[in-house]
C-alpha cells in the first residue's frame, strides 16, 4: 500500500523534499534502514534535505547504508538527542514504540511516521 501511494505521489509530482520543506526541516534522521528507508534517502539525495543518520535495531549488522551510518536508538538518543529536525519512522511496525521511547527520553524531538505522511502529501 505504501509503495503504491508513493508511486501515485510521484506520478502527481508530489515529492518528499517539498513536503518536508513545509515543516522547515533541513536535517533529519530516518528510523528503519530497510527498503522504505533506502527509497526515502534516494529520493532526498538531490534535495536540500540532508539525512544525517539511520536508526535501526539491526545497526550492528548494517553499519552503513547508502554511505549513511546506521546506529541504534540508544546511540541516537545519546549522540543526537534533539539535534536533528525530526526523526522519520519508515518501519511502520515500530512507529508507536519509537514514539513512546522518544517522548520519554527526548520529549522535544519531532517524530513523524512515513505511513501517515504519505497520504497527506
Amino acid at each position: 500500500m505504501i509503495v503504491r501511494k508513493w508511486l501515485e505521489n510521484q506520478c502527481n509530482g508530489k515529492y518528499w523534499k517539498d513536503y518536508l520543506k513545509t515543516y522547515g526541516y533541513s536535517e533529519i534522521a530516518i528510523y528503519g534502514a530497510g527498503e522504505l528507508g533506502r527509497y526515502l534517502v534516494m529520493e532526498l539525495q538531490s534535495s536540500e534535505i540532508k539525512v544525517i543518520v539511520y536508526v535501526d535495531r539491526n545497526a550492528n549488522e548494517l553499519n552503513e547504508v547508502l554511505h549513511i551510518p546506521v546506529i541504534t536508538l540508544d546511540e541516537f538518543i545519546s549522540i543526537f538527542g534533539n539535534k536533528v529536525d525530526a526523526l522519520i519512522v519508515t518501519a511502520t511496525s515500530a512507529d508507536r514504540e519509537v514514539l513512546r521511547e522518544i517522548a520519554c527520553r527526548v520529549p522535544d524531538l519531532p517524530v513523524m511516521s512515513l505511513r501517515d505522511m504519505i497520504f497527506e502529501m
Binding site: R100, C104, P110, V111, S113, D116, F119
Partner: protein, 669 residues
C-alpha cells in the same frame, strides 16, 4: 450452523433475540460463504447484468401466507460481489415504479450498451414478477386475487390504489436489498402515499382502519429481515422513513399518514424501520407533542431535522429549490435528495483528533508561544489531514450499476449509468468525529499551558504520548472537569466555528470527476472505531478510549445549554452533512414535562439547531439490562443514527450508553 436462519422463510426476530454477543453479523457472513457459493461461482464469471438475470431466474420465491403483501430476500442468490465502490446508504426513487409499469420504463430502441443493459434489468424484474404470480396462483395465500392484480399491473401500468402502492414500494425495496444496495432508505412515505390513500378513502375503495392495518403490516414486513439488513451493527439498516416538512413557502406540510406512522411506530415498539420528522418553526404543536410522546416511549424514533436550517444550506450548496424542499437523509442523518442523488454521504471519516496528535508528534513545540499560534498550527495540520481525506474520495472507483440506475431519476433520460454521472446529484460526503474532544483538549491547553502555566507543551506531549504514565492524577482531574464542548460560552462556540470554517476552506474547492462537491458534518458513527488506535488526548481521554458522541455533553448544566450551543453554529457552505445533537433523557422526564419539552424544542428549532435525537432510558435500566439481558429483550436504544435492541449491541456500546446516562443523572463525574 444449527442456529442459522433458513433463507426466504421470513421473520428472524425470534432468532436474533437468542444471540447477545454481537456474533450474528459474523455468522451471516459465514453462512453466505457456504450456501451462496454455488451462485457466487456463476456470478463471479459473469457480468453484473448476467448475474442479475441469473438471480431473477433462480432466487427462491417465498410468499408468506400470513401477510397480504409479498416480500422476500433470498440470501443464496444475493448479488454481493463488489466490483468497485458500492452504491448504498441511498434512497431509490420509489416514485418511478409507482408511476410506471415495468414495460413502460423500457427503451423502445436500446441502441447503446447502457440502454441494452437497462432493458435487460427490467426483463429480469419482469421475470421475478411472473414467478411471483405463478407462486401466488399455486398457493392458497391471503387475498390472492388482490396480489395477482397488483403484480399484473406492475408489469404494464402505474399503481392505482394505496395497498398496491405499498406493495410496489416493497418490491423496489426488496430488489435493492437482494442486489446488495446496503442501507436502503424509504423516503418521504407520508407524502408519496397520501394521494393513493386520499383517493381510496374518497372513492370508498378502502377505509381508514383497513389502510392503517395495511400500513402496520408494511412496517412489520420491513422489520422482518432486520438481521440480514444490518450493516456494521445490528439495527444499522438505513431503513428510515421521512415525515412532514416545509414547502417552498416555508409552510409546514404533513398528512394524516404522518400521524399514522408515528402512532404505529409507537404501538409496534420495533427499532426498525425508524422515523425522521422534518420540523420547522411552523410545525403544529399537536404534531410535535405526538412525536415527543412517541420518542418518550424509548423507541428511538423520530429524530428531528430542522428545515429552517437545512433547506437554505442545501440551496446554497447548489441543490434546486424543489429538491431541497423534499430532502430525505441517508441512513442516519446526512441530508440527501431521495431518488435523485447518488451522493455517498459517508465515504470516510475526518478524525479531528488526528491533526492534534500529529501536531504533538511532529512539531517543535517551543515555537508555539501563544494559544493563537497553537491554533493556527493545528489548522495547518488539519489541512494536511484533509489532503489524505480528499485523496480517499478521489481514488474511489464506482461500481457500474444499471439496477440502481432504473430507480434513480435522470439516468434513464440521460442514458447514463449512476456510476457515469447519470443521477442529478453526485456529491461526496464525509462524516467527522472527535471535534468535541479536540475543543476540550484545546481549551484545556489554553487554560493550563498558556494562562495558568501549570504545564509546558512538552509535558502535555509526554502525558498524551505515554498515556499519562505517572500522571494519573492529572488525567483524572482533566477527565472529571466539566466539558467545554456543547456549552454556550462564546469562546467555545467561536473556536468550534473556527475549526468548522477551516474545514470548509480546505474542502470547498474539491470536485469529483462528475463535478460533485464535498460536504461534511459533525456526526459520525465512528466514535469508537476511529479512537481505537489514537493516543490519549488532553481532555483526559486515555489511549484507545472512545470519542464523545456527536454533539453531546452530559456534563452541561441544562438541555438549554447544548441547544444554544448547537443553534449558534453556522451549518452553511458545505457543513450540513448531518449535525445531530444527542440527548440522554430520563424516561419520566418527557412524560412529566411534555408541554415544557414541546416549548423547548420549538424554541431550539427557531434558534437554529440542525438535528436532534434522544435516548430515553435510565442508567438503572441499562445497567440491569446489561447484567440480565433476558429480562430486557425488547429494550431499544439509539446508537449512531439508528435504533437498536440494547441486547444486540457489543459491550463497548452498552458501556458508553451507561456512562452517558450516569453522567446525565449526575451519578458519575
Amino acid at each position: 450452523m444449527k442456529d442459522i436462519y433458513i433463507p426466504s422463510l421470513g421473520g428472524d426476530v425470534r432468532l436474533h433475540k437468542k444471540k447477545q454477543d454481537g456474533s450474528l453479523l459474523r455468522e451471516r457472513e459465514n453462512y453466505k460463504k457456504i450456501y451462496a457459493k454455488e451462485f457466487s461461482d456463476i456470478y463471479n464469471e459473469s457480468t453484473l447484468v448476467e448475474g442479475f438475470i441469473c438471480m431473477c431466474q433462480n432466487q427462491r420465491i417465498y410468499i408468506d401466507k400470513n401477510w397480504q403483501f409479498v416480500y422476500f430476500i433470498d440470501y443464496v442468490y444475493a448479488l454481493d460481489k463488489i466490483r468497485g465502490y458500492r452504491f448504498g446508504n441511498l434512497t431509490p426513487s420509489y416514485e418511478i415504479l409507482l408511476s410506471h409499469g415495468l414495460s413502460e420504463l423500457k427503451y423502445s430502441n436500446p441502441d447503446t450498451p447502457f440502454c441494452s443493459d437497462y432493458n435487460k434489468i427490467i426483463d429480469g424484474m419482469e421475470c421475478i414478477v411472473e414467478r411471483i404470480i405463478k407462486e401466488i396462483r399455486c398457493g392458497n395465500t391471503k387475498k390472492s386475487e388482490d396480489k395477482i392484480r397488483w403484480f399484473e399491473n406492475l408489469k404494464i401500468r402505474p399503481a392505482e390504489h394505496f395497498a398496491e402502492a405499498l406493495q410496489r414500494i416493497l418490491f423496489v425495496n426488496q430488489i435493492m436489498w437482494q442486489t446488495d444496495h446496503y442501507l436502503t432508505g424509504l423516503g418521504s412515505l407520508d407524502q408519496l402515499l397520501y394521494p393513493y390513500y386520499e383517493q381510496d378513502l374518497r372513492t370508498g375503495h378502502t377505509d381508514e382502519k383497513t389502510a392503517k392495518e395495511q400500513l402496520k403490516e408494511f412496517l412489520q414486513i420491513l422489520h422482518q429481515y432486520y438481521w440480514y439488513k444490518s450493516s456494521m451493527l445490528m439495527g444499522d439498516t438505513g431503513q428510515i422513513i421521512i415525515l412532514g416538512g416545509s414547502d417552498k413557502e416555508e409552510n409546514y406540510r404533513y398528512t394524516v399518514l404522518t400521524e399514522q406512522f408515528l402512532d404505529l411506530v409507537q404501538e409496534l415498539q420495533l427499532p426498525d424501520p425508524k422515523l425522521l420528522l422534518r420540523v420547522n418553526d411552523r410545525i403544529p404543536e399537536k404534531l410535535l407533542k405526538k412525536a415527543l410522546l412517541c420518542m418518550g416511549t424509548g423507541v428511538g424514533s423520530p429524530i428531528f431535522s430542522n428545515d429552517n436550517v437545512i433547506i437554505p444550506a442545501l440551496k446554497k450548496f447548489g441543490i434546486k429549490e424543489e429538491d431541497a424542499c423534499s430532502y430525505a437523509v441517508s441512513a442516519c442523518w446526512e441530508p440527501l435528495i431521495a431518488g435523485k442523488s447518488v451522493s455517498l454521504n459517508n465515504m470516510t471519516t475526518l478524525n479531528y483528533m488526528r491533526p492534534l496528535e500529529n501536531l504533538f508528534r511532529r512539531e517543535r513545540l517551543a515555537r508555539l508561544g501563544t494559544f493563537d499560534e497553537f491554533i493556527e498550527c493545528y489548522i495547518i495540520y488539519l489541512k494536511r489531514n484533509l489532503n489524505a481525506v480528499k485523496r480517499i474520495l478521489t481514488n474511489a472507483r464506482f461500481q457500474y450499476d444499471p439496477i440502481l440506475s432504473v430507480f434513480i431519476e435522470g439516468c434513464r433520460e440521460k442514458q447514463k449509468d449512476v456510476s457515469w454521472g447519470g443521477a442529478e446529484y453526485f456529491h461526496a460526503g464525509i462524516t467527522s468525529v472527535a471535534l468535541g474532544n479536540v475543543i476540550d483538549a484545546l481549551l484545556n491547553i489554553k487554560e493550563y499551558v498558556y494562562e495558568r502555566k501549570k504545564y509546558s507543551l512538552t509535558e502535555v506531549r509526554k502525558m498524551i504520548l505515554t498515556n499519562y504514565a505517572g500522571r494519573e492524577k492529572d488525567q483524572k482531574a482533566l477527565k472529571s472537569k466539566k466539558r467545554y464542548f456543547g456549552t454556550d460560552k462564546e469562546e467555545v462556540i467561536q473556536l468550534t466555528q473556527k475549526i468548522m470554517n477551516a474545514t470548509t476552506r480546505f474542502t470547498k474547492d474539491y470536485r469529483n470527476e462528475y463535478g460533485g462537491k464535498l460536504k461534511f458534518g459533525l456526526s459520525a458513527p465512528t466514535y469508537i472505531d476511529a479512537a481505537v488506535d489514537m493516543y490519549a488526548s488532553f481532555d483526559g481521554r486515555k489511549y484507545g478510549d472512545p470519542f464523545a458522541v456527536h454533539i453531546s455533553n452530559e456534563t452541561a448544566d441544562s438541555y438549554t445549554e447544548i441547544l444554544n450551543f448547537a443553534s449558534a453554529l453556522d451549518y452553511g457552505d458545505n457543513r450540513f452533512n448531518g449535525n445531530v445533537i444527542d440527548f440522554m433523557v430520563a424516561p419520566d422526564f418527557i412524560q412529566n414535562n411534555v408541554d415544557k419539552f414541546v416549548t423547548l424544542i420549538k424554541t431550539a428549532i427557531k434558534k437554529g439547531i440542525f438535528q436532534l435525537q434522544m435516548n430515553v432510558v435510565s442508567s438503572e435500566t441499562l445497567i440491569c439490562a446489561k447484567k440480565n439481558p433476558d429480562a430486557f429483550p425488547n429494550l431499544i436504544v439509539r446508537v449512531w443514527g439508528f435504533s437498536a435492541f440494547f441486547i444486540d449491541l457489543p459491550d463497548e456500546y452498552k458501556d458508553i450508553l451507561i456512562s452517558r446516562a450516569l453522567k446525565n443523572e449526575g451519578k458519575e463525574g
